[in-house]
């Protein structure tokens, strides 16, 4: 195995799959924070969505109903966050912490009550999961050198939510930078007083931002439980919400950069699963703990401003009090 084994197609394929929930959660955070609402509750929203999507998919046998349930659960938590941080002008960080614990506790509690399987859902089979989609001509083109295998293995053969997540990147860019709503959303995160003066409701805009965040977190959670894995297990988000937060800072709150950041972090997760490849490629053993901690270390370095400065939206974290 040489150095290029590090970029083996199977590793890259895993990268795409592991990056998808990170990307969705990262874009979710991007909407919220661009609108001036810090959200460290991404983790909790994903977890709630993962559970409810798996639970409903298991009960109804339809993954689409599961997806809807997951998004709904995530939206409920978003509403709590909005209520606390917009309506009652509470501390957004504390609200986020509370939401994370709420989801961590409630999912296990309800899972135990509904399924009695030690805080997990039954394994999803058949229509209860998002199946991989084979893109057109994947079979036919797989013999074409270089491009063929890349198309057949890396680009084709993911579940639909992977493609949805990828499409969300240009979508987010378009909404934020090419629509009136996006302009206002960015303005409300930088200078809510100016938006208010222009006669646009700060509260409505911020609730919209938090709502979009809820939807995207819901899809991310549903993908975890019904696409990446077949069912919900306790604490299955395993810090992904925080890695997404890290990616958001890494990307400096920009959609395309969010894609690259989450792909990088997804790659780190994927390569951590294959210590044999790392050792073969680099000739020495890299501690798996170092790979696990890498996203967090990189984020701290970025935050410290040694590699370009990460400047959050100016009004982020501040409740807006209307001038009287």
């Amino acid at each position: 195995m040489g150095f290029f084994a590090l970029f083996d197609l199977s590793v890259l394929d895993t990268t795409v799959r592991l990056a998808t929930p990170l990307l969705l959660a990262c874009l979710a955070g991007l909407f919220s924070e661009r609108g001036g609402i810090f959200d460290i509750g991404l983790e909790g929203k994903m977890l709630a969505a993962a559970f409810f999507s798996a639970a409903l998919a298991a009960m109804t046998g339809s993954v689409w109903i599961g997806l809807l349930a997951g998004v709904a659960a995530s939206l409920v938590l978003s509403a709590v966050h909005g209520l606390a941080s917009i309506t009652f002008r509470g501390n957004q960080l504390i609200s986020g912490v509370a939401i994370n614990f709420l989801a961590a506790g409630l999912t296990v509690l309800i899972a135990q009550s509904w399924f009695q399987q030690g805080g997990r859902t039954p394994s999803l089979i058949g229509g209860g999961r998002f199946e991989p989609i084979t893109l057109p001509f994947a079979e036919a083109l797989s013999n074409v050198p270089v491009f063929g295998p890349i198309y057949a293995e890396l680009i084709s053969g993911h579940s639909i939510l992977v493609y949805v997540a990828l499409l969300c990147v240009p979508g987010t860019w378009y909404i934020l930078f090419r629509t009136r709503f996006g302009l206002r959303l960015r303005a409300v995160g930088e200078n809510p007083a100016a938006v208010d003066t222009a006669g646009v409701s700060v509260v409505t805009l911020r609730f919209a931002a938090v709502g979009i965040c809820g939807i995207l977190c819901g899809i991310a959670g549903a993908y975890l439980a019904t696409g990446l894995q077949a069912g919900f297990v306790k604490d299955m988000t395993a810090g992904r919400g925080f890695i997404a937060l890290a990616a958001l800072i890494f990307a400096k709150w920009r959609p395309w950069h969010a894609l690259w950041a989450t792909l990088l972090f997804g790659y780190l997760q994927a390569i951590a699963l294959r210590p044999d490849i790392i050792e073969g490629a680099l000739g020495f053993k890299v501690q798996v703990q170092l790979l696990d901690a890498m996203p967090y270390i990189l984020t701290v370095v970025i935050l410290a401003g040694f590699v370009g400065k990460a400047i959050p939206p100016r009004a982020g974290g501040e409740p807006y009090v209307k001038e009287r």
Partner: protein
Amino acid sequence: MDVMPKWAEVTLVPLISLLLAAILSALVILAIGEDPVAAVKLMVSGALGSTYGWGYTLYYATNFMFTGLAVAVAIHAGLFNIGGEGQAMLGGLGVALVCLFIPWPHWTIAVLAAVVGSALFGALWAAIPAYLQAKRGSHIVITTIMFNFIAAAVLNYTLVNVLRPAGSMDPATERFPEAVHLPSLHELLAPFGIAFSKAAPANVSLVIAVIACVLVWLLIWRTPLGLEIRSYGKSQRAARYAGIGAVRITMIAMLISGGLAGMMAINNVMGEAERLVLNAVEGAGFIGIAVALMGRSHPVGVFLAAILFGFLYQGGAELALWTSIPRELIVVIQALVILFTGALDNMVRMPLERIFLALRASRSPKSTAAE
């Protein structure tokens, strides 16, 4: 002038928040088909009905006092330290190094060294986020979250690759020597003729935690440094105008905070497990947030809230043992307490303030002027 009298501020607001959290928790228990009244009875008898129960309640409470004080000190400086979990993990590492590599003649000296070691490691782990906040403007909440994860990786690496005894599969250190065994409440109370459960893990660290509460109170309200910390927390601009250095206060407050979180390790690592295991902290760092919010960042409040959470923790364990309600119920209660006392504070406060305003208006205007 404040709208609410002081007594209402310190008692009514947290109690109403707690009541709301309790009602919602009861609804949750009902929703999963269990009886909330029976659950509370079981929790009370399990956590407070025997010295064994008390021993566990006080053991958990000791952990939460340290982490609660840690969060409280940071809050006084206007900083939100979410990193108690990671700081407590590193504190455990400090305690393990002190206990394993130095031959102590007696536990009394060992515990002093362990306090220093754990506080040093905890403070060190808080120092980097503090420095980055003070000097580089990186948001301390995000950096402390990141440092929790990095701490977990560091601890994992150290236990698996460095401190694990040869031949053992378990990622944990070997047992600490007998000389550093901390006396449990059973051993402490026996000379006074008080019978206390032998099996319960509450130990002399409880005394240290109470001393820490007193010292934090002295520091915050009775020293010039405490005044500076509080001024900085109330208004950074005013503090700067008064000549209080932002970098200095941020660093000092976070070092104290991290040190307190780290000191939790003398209870759970040195006092209970008597070796360092991977999951030693068990979320106590995060419960510190709920404890500090509930206790309004006052040492007395933190002490009471820590005992309340100790009760919830032990009661929850009993529930999980005897009913089909899983332990995670406590996580839900903890989340609701954080939500109501922290984030939805205004939801409780606004109607209360309106009531007090109405009360004041109904009294004669003369007495209002005299106040």
